[in-house]
Subunit: 284 residues, 4 copies
């Protein structure tokens, strides 16, 4: 009744002649740790967080199935943590272990930035959301080539909470101005040999809202951020344009997509803007 | 190999001597329609929406399983829509069809309030969230008793978006004040013979924030709500206290739980307050 | 202190020379109603549901801001419901009212399919998720051209729950086979002049899993679907290949992207596959 | 125009005579680390994870507002991580710093259990969800009393994914049986002086389903779990009853609430059961 030894059903051939773009595992939660920048020549302490991970490969038309357990095996071999500079390497390792033409890897995780309150210097942690995506294909340089996360197949995204204050509301009102939390998003790819820390991209993005948010604010800090927002009103359109100009000015960035979603305090829906641009000198 | 006729496995006896508080189906999406109030003697048009529905019964220790398909049968018999005044009746119908001591019914759905902009009168719809919960038990009055949704076993909840503006930020800042969207929540039970429309509870709740939100605002409206919020600053504590005083003043309400979550524009976390009170004259 | 009359801040010019791809309102909840197919020459009754709606336009580099309230005005003019054949027309109306080069419209909503249990014929409703996306641009045929939702700028997506049963588990086990709920997704665009009902696309997709799911099953039905799944084992790869073959065979479909996410009963993560294909005769 | 020095608006008195049950901060994301059990006399390595944290205090009727920034200050003082045995102590620290009668603390976080595949011994990590809740009040023993997390004001909850296989489907079908992922939940309180590791509660709960889930399964493992599930069919009612019997048998547990949600592979809705019991000898 039972086939013996256990048949490799996935390894059988398939006659439908339909290749599959992506097949694999989705929404795997996994602990990772990331290198952080440091002052001076020393690396910072590793930051521990929890990622949601998708791992896919392409499947040629003649092969019936992929071997799902191998994705987890590759991931489990990194059980002591997954350094950010290994994201491309992990993607390549998936491609090799699964014997595939293409491999796709996506990690999404919360990340914490140490920030002091603007006047009192009160310490605090700001939580942002980070997405790292890698794509390894047969046509890219081999696994021994000296290419880090800054290769064309690597995309880094940060989502950063901040404050937006409406210029129209300020201009037309006798006093006050509606303001709200917004979430800015920036996705970037890099020119060959270039890279960024998450902290670098965060700092560029955070500077583009009306003012920053903080986890701990005492009264002098609250006065500061209230007045700073009122002094720097921005539409959602202003935020994405300032994000675009910041990305244009950074010579590490070869491609970017920037957006902002503002959780309007005067509506139950949100305002949103987005734009995308590939610089002309981009090598791909 | 196959038992024939099909065995009623659920109807078998169980020897573990463990009664179950609630067993049934969870997260059933279903279209419903609700009666709406009207001007004059006429009922308003029915409002159509989509609910997420949980239906449970108690199970005595000696019975192995409940009959899950019967929950859906009862629900499907209401396939032309589920009027709000039938919520208690539906709960009682579940209790009878499942031959149970207790039945619990919970419906959560978006509901739309027609609201005009405060100055220009521009029409618009505000989406709120409503939860109706019913509990029918053997000790309550029989199904023929003239008790509508306003019975002790019935709870109505609304979640209403609005604007809150911080009194501290206004007081200590030279200009401006941080403000943000908040979500107020009020759950109420009623004295015997009393009831409310969703619209009634919504109107009471909406009046307790710094100002209201709208779907469509032209410039004169935006000026109005900006200044109205600045003129009426409220902490999250003020909002729940004003909600409590409004519930105390309403002689239909026998019990209430009120709360507000403010999506602070200066933080990435939220401020929250909640309180609950049963009036002394409450019959249960 | 107050500008008078109220200044049109959004209408001012902008010097940053950054055009914006998409700006507008996101996550607007709104009641809509859709036409349904009928037997014979008569239209079916309208189905009422609640959509989450995104509406965006492009903004040229020289204009400071868009006029957010106009999006809601256009939507509110459809306050009696938004028929599905009006999705492209609504998108074009947005483009005109906002005086924009491009407009994007996206509606996501639950939709209910009446389905009878396979043996007993017990009635029930199956909830699926539908996404309709439209893109209107200056280069497309004018608003008077006889193009319905079946134009190149229109994409229809359905997400359909079903059952998948693992061929490997069945093959290697002495008895039983792991199975689970899966969610299939199909996005399609149409050749000129062609269209589909949501019900049509649903029926094609539902046929590609191991077996269907139902809201109400009596014991003879449960026996039927259990055995049907065991008789028709499919990997996630098989499901997407069968979806692709069904789309290839349908001469209304010019482009498709199909996928399936299987909520594996033996893991806490999911299996996933996806592929996309534009037919060679596609006119765009 | 500006009050100077900055006024303590929150410290003012309030005349509405409405005490507030809970006021504070909600949905703060924060990195924590937890002690883990070890073999022998040595502690295991700390596990790092990310929590969503709510922190509330009660507010007497005469006080206008609480001091929100102090919640974050207390949390930030634990910036090197929050050991699990400090949950009650953190709650007491909040109560003292906020000068409140009652304090409530809730942490929810993913937690990883190292599990080997049942036949091949392949290593893997299973992600579960954990909730720790603490309540400190004026009437409990002082902060110097030797009470750890195992005090009456402490509740531990785990949510554990597993497999359920339907006894009815197995009984009535000629072959096969529908099965699916389920999520079991157990909340427990402890008798004085008693405690549990998260790993302890996890192991008790995991044993109550039809079979366990794993992150990595090779073919011999997949055969094993497929047959194990078929050999051990359980209704959702069976799962909660077995959970209850396991909790009754554990002399550390003074109170429990157990439930299971089964993501039925033959429906688009879920089956659910729950029961709650306080043992007679419970000291509160």
């Amino acid at each position: 009744m039972l086939s013996s030894p256990l048949v490799d059903v996935q390894g059988k051939s398939d006659g439908r002649r339909v290749p599959i773009d992506r097949v694999g595992v989705k929404n795997v939660r996994y602990p990772i740790s990331l290198a952080t920048p440091a002052g001076g020549a020393h690396a910072g302490p590793r930051q521990h967080t929890i990622a949601r991970i998708d791992m896919y490969v392409s499947l040629p038309h003649h092969q019936k199935g992929t071997h799902m357990s191998r994705f987890l095996e590759v991931l489990n071999e990194h059980h002591d943590g997954l350094p950010s500079h290994d994201v491309m390497n992990l993607c390549r390792a998936i491609r090799e272990r699964l014997e595939a033409e293409d491999a796709h890897l996506r990690l999404e995780f919360p990340y914490f930035i140490d920030k002091r309150a603007p006047v009192t210097g009160q310490p605090g942690k700001l939580d942002i959301e980070v997405v790292l995506e890698a794509h390894a294909s047969g046509s890219e340089p081999g696994p021994d080539a000296p290419i880090g996360p800054a290769s064309p197949g690597f995309t880094m995204t940060v989502r950063v909470p901040a404050t937006s204050l409406c210029p129209c509301s300020k201009e037309i009102s006798a006093y006050g101005a509606h303001n709200q939390r917004c979430e800015m998003e920036a996705s970037v790819r890099f020119f060959p040999g270039k890279r960024m820390w998450i902290e670098d991209l965060f700092a560029i993005v955070e500077g583009c809202a009306s003012t920053q948010v903080f986890s701990t604010l005492k009264r002098p800090d609250e006065k500061f951020v209230t007045e700073a927002a009122y002094d720097n009103p921005k539409f959602v359109e202003d935020i994405v344009r300032d994000l675009a100009m910041a990305m244009e000015a950074d010579d590490r960035v070869s491609w970017y997509r920037v957006g902002s979603e503002n959780f309007e305090s005067i509506h139950s829906h949100n305002a949103y803007a987005q734009l995308e641009h590939a610089k002309s000198a981009e090598p791909q």
